[in-house]
Amino acid sequence: MSDSVETAAAAAAPVPPAPTGQSGTVVRSTVLRRLFRNPLGLIAMAILTTITLLAALAPVIAPFQENFANIAKTLAAPDAVNILGTDSAGRDVWSRLLYGGQLTLLSAVLCAAVAIAIGLPSGLIAGYYAGKFEAVSNWMVSILMSLPGLIVLLTIRAAFGPSVWISMIAFGILISPSYFRLTRSAVQSVRNELYVDAARVSGLSDRSIIARHIFSVVRAPIIIQTAAIAGVAIAIQSGLEFLGLGDPAKATWGVMLSEGFKNVYLTPTLLFWPAFAMALTIGALVLLGNAIRDALEDADKIKHRRKKMHDAEHAASASAAKAARKTLAAVEAGTEHHLVKVTNLGVGYPQADGSIKKVVDDVSFHVDRGEILGIVGESGSGKSQTAFSILGLLPDTARIVGGAIQFDGNYTVAPGDEKVNQDRLSKLRGKRISYIPQEPMSNLDPAFTIGYQLVTPMVRVLGISKAEATKRAMKLLSDVGIVNPERTFKAYPHEVSGGMAQRVLIAGAISCEPDLIIADEPTTALDVTVQADVLELIRDLQRSLGVGVILVTHNFGVVADLCDRVAVMQNGRLVEDGPVRDILRNPKQKYTQTLLASMLEGKTPMTMLVSSEKEPVA
């Protein structure tokens, strides 16, 4: 029926991003294996196979012809001859169910085939070449999608008569936009992928590129979509039959349902069988689609799991430290004066197999008022996770697996806490601890003006009036070096440059006069010249406000520019920390030495940096 028609198409349309590139020949075998291991997927496949076999073998196994009527035996209860009873014309329900299955399945296949034949090639072309073809197809798609399926089919029937095949071809055309849109957006997502460019540079023809690199991306989503479309086709075809608009000479589930409904006062069971067959078939298709999707998403997860295994190894080595940690009970006397003190902190993510993947392991450091601490490390070193645990903004799945964090003499994470205590932190966040993110654009809500996003936190946190907050926001904007504060105040995020957006975010971070600012790679997304300006801004503000700053970065130049002290992290652990000059000039640990040796500044050009001769592997 058609209310599920277009929504199912819409539901399936946004699928492509997930399985991108997860469908090549190599992956497919593992996906298939995973599919077979999924009980729901197995059941669905078993049901579909059984139904298909029963329908295909209908002429052999059905005890009666589909229209054979025994007028002497109408609306009979099940017995040895008519195992599911007979209908009002004395026809055998079981036989009609089998023959009906034939027609129903075939019409679903026809509909999906037509829809694929139209939607897939046009989607590939529109996605790959774009241009006029895409514009025209988009227009046609928007028309097709705004036509209610059933009404169109009624019209088609008025024109061409009651043929199942014609209505299924028509419905295939009508529903082809779902394949078109699916294919087009999948192709668009890979069209500009660099590996397609690399293939172009290699001189691969468009046809080879589509076959080799692009078709493999849409294959899996197409299969999932087809399961959904087949279900919808069965529903709408049965709906037409139910309305009595089908071919009266054919047994179908829809006709049987309608027949049962007419006799609902006499034999309600007549209703049950066709409804059951329909729900079973469509349900199996839906489950199969879901199982394939899950199998594909599992394939995606594999890589994480592999990494996690790796991390679990060094987690074991930390157990000694964990034992020591248990003895720690209260806030250490004499540490209250530190603005922030992190003690033996461990952060981890529970895994499916019950283990915990540690991303931060036994990390301790402190920050005093008016001091800038740099946390340096490469990707995966746990530096951002450490920062977010101070802010209390770790993902929901994260667990504090050990240690404590104290802010201004009070615990925000007490020893033994499993999670960051949000009651304690929500009073501090925004007010006394604030945050400067890495990516300026994605950290502003595109739907609200910059002014709104500056004013609201001040109203909420400081409890000042909107007018006063607006006045302060203007001053903040000019403080962070924005030339025309009024205009920026009224602008939406997409109307300003990345550098300006970052200034806005810095203005937001200082708006409630915090004691601690946590800056997570605040200049990484910016051009070098803009970075220099923003570093300048952070330094000036830090001096004038006297706040403590935790600066997370991978760049030793940024560290040298801003920081008083440095902590170096690797694989979740703190390698060494100390005053900035000591660490940068006389690093004690091998890892820090390697990091600094990798710096290009001051090296003789055209010479080897780390590898003496031919020494693999990155």
Partner: protein, 313 residues
């Protein structure tokens, strides 16, 4: 904004024109023996020819189509070839019945799907799993089968609701609501399960965005983040889902009306298409397309209001 609306209305008119021409053409192909069908087997060849002339069937397609367009522009949609009832009259009595149901169902879907979807996204746990299972069930059972099941169990077996709803609005609001309950439920169940599922994923996607974390870091409460920022950003996705559901429902309601014997657009559409009653079919198709165009326009306007980027361009 006004230019945007004008542009949308313009393209809507083009669609209306294309669809009406296409439908007219399709029906024209099949209207060869229509006069014979109307008059029955006993009619003589002259009588058939007379009838064909009377219906304008002897004129070429373009002439007939533009005559229809001309009449339609003045509000005259012609009369049924079989019952001679003016099409505009039939539509006027039937559209309210259908639209009441469709809009009641849509409003309930919007509310329920939004509440359930947001709850599933925020709370996760069992609510989330229930939504997933519900979505699979909803996808598995066609709406009209749900309708049939509801009638069988609630009306026929238990007798809680009337099985047929031929009651007119004049017979009291209470009776009207009572008789409309089952059809509306049958219409909305699939919509709620499917809609909740999609609103859930839209909300989850928004909750994972960077700016949500930054809002939290600014000391904004969870409630405000959810209702002011996340829902607003997730709303366009939800609106698109709802508009597609509404389009689908215009078809689905035909079968539901048939099941409950409601005097809405459904029986009219089924009868007219069964007999190739061109003026009535044209009327039904035009009504559907106009509803769709209006709904899509409203969705576009709402989206423009929600998303400043669209508004500017």
């Amino acid at each position: 904004m006004i230019r945007f609306i004008a542009k949308r209305l313009g393209s809507g008119l083009v669609v209306l024109f294309v669809v009406s021409a296409l439908t007219f053409f399709l029906l024209y192909i099949s209207s060869g023996s229509i006069a014979r069908n109307i008059l029955g087997d006993q009619a003589t060849a002259e009588q058939v020819a007379m009838k064909e002339h009377e219906l304008g069937l002897d004129q070429p397609l373009p002439v007939r189509y533009f005559a229809w367009v001309g009449d339609a522009l003045t509000g005259n949609l012609g009369a049924s070839w079989f019952t001679s009832e003016p099409v505009a009259n039939s539509l006027a009595t039937r559209i309210p019945v259908t639209m009441t149901m469709v809009f009641a169902a849509m409003i309930l879907i919007a509310i329920c799907a939004a509440l359930i979807g947001v709850a599933a996204a925020v709370k996760r746990g069992w609510v989330d799993r229930a939504v997933q299972v519900g979505a699979i069930l909803g996808d598995s059972i066609p709406g009209f089968v749900i309708g049939v099941i509801l009638v069988t169990i609630l009306a026929i077996q238990l007798g809680i609701f009337p099985a047929t709803s031929t009651i007119s609005p004049d017979s009291g609001a209470e009776a009207w609501v009572y008789s409309m309950t089952l059809p509306v439920i049958a219409l909305l169940l699939n919509g709620v399960t499917g809609g909740a599922q999609q609103i859930r994923s839209a909300v989850i996607k928004q909750l994972e965005r960077d700016y949500v974390r930054t809002l939290r870091s600014r000391g904004i409460g969870e409630g405000e983040i959810l209702f002011k920022h996340v829902l607003r950003s997730a709303a366009p996705a939800g609106l698109t889902v709802l508009s597609l559901q509404l389009i689908g429902m215009l078809g689905g309601v035909v079968i539901i009306e048939q099941i409950f014997a409601l005097p809405g657009m459904g029986p009219l559409a089924v009868a007219a298409t069964g007999q190739s009653d061109l003026p009535v079919v044209m009327g039904v198709v035009m009504y559907t397309v106009v509803v769709v165009i209006v709904v899509n326009l409203l969705v576009d306007i709402l989206n423009g209001w929600l998303n400043p980027k669209v508004r500017v361009s």
